[in-house]
Subunit: 130 residues, 2 copies
Amino acid sequence: MNIAEVATRAGLPPKTIRYYEDIGLIHPRRQANGYRAFAEADLHKLAFLGRARGLGFSIEECRTLLALYEDQSRASADVKALAQRHLTAIDAKIAELQAMRATLSDLVHHCAGDHRPDCPILADLAGAAP
Amino acid sequence: MNIAEVATRAGLPPKTIRYYEDIGLIHPRRQANGYRAFAEADLHKLAFLGRARGLGFSIEECRTLLALYEDQSRASADVKALAQRHLTAIDAKIAELQAMRATLSDLVHHCAGDHRPDCPILADLAGAAP
DNA sequence: CTTGACCTTCCTGTCACTGGAACCCTTATG
DNA sequence: CATAAGGGTTCCAGTGACAGGAAGGTCAAG
């Protein structure tokens, strides 16, 4: 398989696949002409990585997950701990965004949004004491 | 005011303040010795920027907000539109994170997390057809 | 006069790619 | 046979918003 086919089947851009090779996540063989020769196992790994990235795991977490996946003697506790940490991080981000959302939504609500210059959004950013 | 005092009062690291000058968000004067000489107006702008960044506005959005703030003939509609767009972007991010969270939480729930290697999290990442 | 706490600029690194230039390989067509 | 299109390759630079650190100038106190 050449890179374009793998890219289509794994749902990842060729650039990303080359990058993943660069940083040592995959190790496709090479053909005589220098082209990458992807095996089914490479495709499988790339799809794995695509899904893990889709769940928001960092590249380093993905590296660990791949290593665990390939370690037949792993303990599921290790995987679960990693996923649990990531879940906590996601929750923190959601909370942060929801706090922003609440403030911003409130400000937007109080802004007339007309041709006049008076604006509670700018007033708040400028540090208006309520 | 030297940079350290402004940093404390604006709640921003000195590095960030120098960066903001670099990209043209602020223009503090210089003392004879080359040190930055911050006026109250600079401090005010930096605090404004800190709050806007805290609400998740990008640097370029902050630049626009500052320009609107300083434009006495602005229309509040322009500010509101910018804030509204940002709010929509935040909502999209929240939705994305919540989708991740739902999947991940489900997987974590189904993982025994013991010494055995069987792990539904890895199975899902590997593309297990349900 | 020296110490230590400031300040300065400049360079590098972060994260996970993306775009583009310059060039090689393969296949089809005139 | 030349060439053009459509693969592939490497390498370099840029993204956003800073943070870390080196090398060196400045200033007040002891």
